[in-house]
């Protein structure tokens, strides 16, 4: 959910819309979004699956320290989506464990 108006931060400024693809589905993001923020805004809760049991993990630290948010971005695995800005046309997929180059 996006915070369009906020008592301290004010109204959201208009930004350029960008479409990224996540697990095959288009997700609307805005220029300047971190990938994880765009996903959270779109209601995403699961970010990666653990290696042994395939359990879902969601964002935990949101500042690039814990790696719970890593996804495969444009073929590269283990990208920390909480500190990586979106780019138009990004293709993102959920990874299991330490992921693979695709």
């Amino acid at each position: 959910m996006r915070i369009t108006d906020h008592p301290i931060l004010g109204r959201e400024k208009p930004r350029k819309e960008i479409t990224i693809t996540v697990d095959g589905e288009p997700v609307t993001a805005y220029e300047g979004d971190m990938i994880a923020a765009a996903l959270v805004a779109a209601g995403w809760r699961h970010f990666r699956l653990t290696r042994r049991h395939g359990e879902p993990r969601g964002i935990f630290c949101a500042i690039g320290r814990c790696t719970d948010c890593v996804m495969n971005v444009n073929g590269r695995p283990n990208v920390r989506t909480c500190i990586t800005p979106v780019e138009a046309g990004m293709v993102i997929t959920t990874q299991t464990g330490s992921g693979e180059w695709t």
């Binding site: 996006r2 931060l9 979004d33 923020a37 959270v40 970010f47 993990r57 969601g58």
Partner: protein
Amino acid sequence: MEETDAAIIGAGPAGLAAAIEVARAGGRVVLIDENSRPGGQLFKQIHKFFGSRTHDAGVRGITIAHHLLEECDRFGVTTLLDTVAYGIFAGNGIGLAGGGRTWTLHARRIILAAGASEKALPFPGWTLPGVMGAGALQTMMNVHRVLPGRRILMIGSGNVGLIVSYQALQAGADVVAVVEAAPSIGGYGVHAAKIRRTGIPILTSHTVKRVLGDDHVEGAELVALDEGWHPIEGTERQVPADTICLSVGLTPLTELARMAGCRFTYVPALGGHVPLHNWDMQTSRDTLYVAGDIAGIEEASTALEEGRLAGMAAARSLGLLTEGDAASKKADIRKRLVSLREGPFGRLRRELKEPFMKGREITHAG
């Protein structure tokens, strides 16, 4: 570039303040941060700071952040973003990685201002999506303007837990309760009062027994604790929530200081392992300084002042400031630090830090 006077790792309040002081004195400064934006945790602090009015009290953290960035620009600080300092090697070489390449930056002085990371509190179900650090919620709301949930359960009643609960309400989410294992509230009374007037319960002597939900948070089971901090059987109750925030303390990010061979001390109330430093913020390695939460968990206001101190001490040691000039400026900052470390909350930090800040000063350049 490959060589500079001062390299500062971490562009939060401590790093920014240090960079400004060295650059102001005429030194070449490279400020390094792995994030794509500088400011550290400051851009999450949308509340007004305490302290002395003559030093930014009553000003919102975000405003202070903007001022610091403007000053960095003004004094010509070179800032490298999206750049990781992955190591410190012999001869003050810093291993940097960014933009798909790696290189080594040699700095005559290094200031580590890498900050801290949130501690975790494991309990059954803590790995479910929806359990996150309080700082994570704060980042999502105040920096990225998104809400990861609408019904927040806050674990921990220190200042971070209380402030982030208040900010969750400002962002449009609801806070179900603040849960505190200790018998009293950890943070400032005024922060607690702000959220009590909104009706948010603060449950002291309680903890989370387990998370409810299959593949994401749907609620939590809380349990009361006795005087020995043991769960009291039969007091369990369930509360609905879609997000559980952990606000259980911070710990300094000290990997680079360890790698550089700095000596440490262990002080739980300051976050754990803290690099030994003196009043010049100088570590056991002469040309390496620390400032901010990496030097012991405190606040943004103390981080700013420690950054100024480290920057000034580094500038003096580089011969960029005269002894007299540096001494009087440092004395002012130290007075402010002492003042920030007063009162029932601050006094403990002062009593913990001061004993190991022995008076070894640098009095000559090089």
